[in-house]
Amino acid sequence: MIELVNVKKVFNAGNPSEFSALNSVNLHIGENKVTVLRGPSGSGKTTLLSIIGCMSRPTAGRVRLGGREISSLPERFLTDIRRKTFGFIFQQPNLIKGISVLENVMLPAYPLGEPRSRLREKAMQGLAELNISTKAASKVEWLSGGEAQRASIVRALINKPTIIIADEPTAHLDTKLSQRFMEIIEKFKAEGKTVIITSHDPLVCDSKMVDRVINLRDGRIEGEPS
């Protein structure tokens, strides 16, 4: 489903502070699989995730999604793919303060122009599935860490993406909430979604629902020839 060919990412190229975050990464991620990118800080996990999720472009190499080459696409086409294909869950919930949970959840769907009543219904259904529908009208400042995390998951799912990308999702969660998060991931898998997670949390990496763990170090996949 997702294929990376000789992907390199260099920051500050040509400057004394030049840093090569990814070095000739070749990778194939299957459909409807849960894949974990594991590695120490600075190993290139988040950079790789951002390239897969069309949030940044590689310095060299190509990325294919469902057979279609996407790394050369003009920005407006990438925006469309990002919006419809990927759901992003970040380390921090990144909810927008000052507006309600419901508004936060509906926000990524606004550019698609879906009627508001239908969108609201969809958002409420998503909140109910994760047991936070009672918080729909609450401002996000009033949520606990776990509730905020679940609200951000509902937001990631509002456009019904086929691929869920989660960057260190359990970094700020306690054990109970981390287990709850993995239960949600299991549900995604059952629904046929592809999930890619960066983590070095054993609770995530050693989970039975994870199909593949890819170890990254110094911008390379371990075991691949340098």
Partner: protein
């Protein structure tokens, strides 16, 4: 040189446009030589990122280029009180040998810049940069013209001497003079030119509407729109100006941009240039209708161009007709030829 704000604005616009076009042409040449969308090489990805910058930059530069034609004519018109003999832009442009060549180049560059903007817009609709080499090839063709325009425009403004006695438009566009393109056009018999104008415009509009509705005859309409552009410019000198000035002997194509005539000339020229750019844009895009990534949108875009061109030519005709009908000039006899 005359230090007038409009002169400085013209020169600055010209230098900025030339600098940007040279910068863009440099990367354009790299794209023409090294572009390979199949490759994942670092250079290819750099070129992909660069093309966003260059095409955005050129969109503004060529937008400025379109405006600069009108700014140039406006400046020439504004400066006419400074030169003995000049009554409008026609006289100011004649103060040295660079004024009219610059104007001609500005008109040519207007059409080329408009064509590039049309190609660029179409290219931006495709996901695989379908027209990238074509648009940079066109840029390589345009760049020398833009630079030449800057050189001529600089020579024109820097060589302006206030003590020059120039010719007025009555002399430059006189049907009684025997030499010069302006006089030759002015000498064309007005009444037959009216027939030529209306018949040619009717055929052009009919062809445009046919193409818009049936999608056939696009090349013919593109060619007709260029022909109609030339006929319209000749008509302005030959008979349209006579009705606007209500004088049977005044053929100047520049006095119509003055306040006394409610700046009607600007509107006429904007309609005309807009119509021809849209028209030639159709001819430029038709060969790419079968390109896979443009297939779904290009027909719609070409249709919009056709509609714009037809509407602009129709508006030009309505405006000309209104001027003729509302004019106090009645041509019951043939204007002297």
């Amino acid at each position: 040189m005359i230090l007038h704000p409009a002169v400085i604005a013209n020169l600055l616009a010209s230098y900025i446009a030339s600098f940007m076009v040279v910068y863009a042409a440099y990367y354009g040449a790299q794209i023409l030589r090294r572009w390979d969308i199949q490759s994942g090489a670092e250079l290819q990805l750099v070129l992909e990122r660069k093309t966003y910058l260059i095409s955005t930059l050129l969109t503004y530069v060529f937008g400025l280029q379109l405006l600069s034609l009108f700014l140039y004519v406006f400046t020439a018109d504004t400066l006419c009180p400074l030169f003995v003999g000049a009554m409008c832009a026609a006289g100011t442009l004649n103060v040295n040998g660079f004024g009219y060549p610059t104007l001609v180049l500005k008109m040519v560059n207007f059409l080329l810049a408009g064509l590039w903007l049309v190609l660029n817009h179409a290219d931006n609709q495709g996901y695989d940069y379908p027209l990238i080499k074509k648009k940079y090839l066109l840029l390589a063709f345009i760049a020398p013209f833009i630079i030449l325009e800057t050189i001529l425009e600089s020579a024109y403004f820097l060589d302006m001497q206030a003590d020059v006695i120039t010719s007025c438009c009555g002399s430059l566009f006189s049907s009684e003079r025997v030499t010069g393109l302006g006089s030759e056009i002015a000498s064309l018999p007005a009444k037959p030119m009216i027939w030529v104008f209306y018949i040619a415009m009717s055929i052009t509009l009919a062809c445009g509407v046919f193409f818009y509705r049936k999608g056939k005859g696009g090349y013919l309409y593109a060619a007709l729109s260029v022909l109609m552009f030339v006929i319209s410019l000749v008509s302005i000198v030959s008979f349209i100006s006579l009705y606007i000035y209500e004088l049977p002997t005044h053929h100047c194509p520049f006095c119509i941009i003055m306040q006394e005539y409610h700046y009607i000339g600007y509107l006429l020229y904007i309609l005309l240039f807009g119509a021809v750019v849209s028209g030639i844009g159709i001819g430029a895009l038709i060969p790419f209708r079968q390109v896979e990534s443009l297939h779904s949108m290009l027909s719609g875009f070409i249709g919009k161009l056709a509609l714009a061109s037809v509407v602009l030519y129709a508006a030009f005709t309505v405006l000309v007709t209104y001027e003729i009908i509302s004019s106090n000039l009645v041509m019951t006899y043939e204007v002297a030829s």
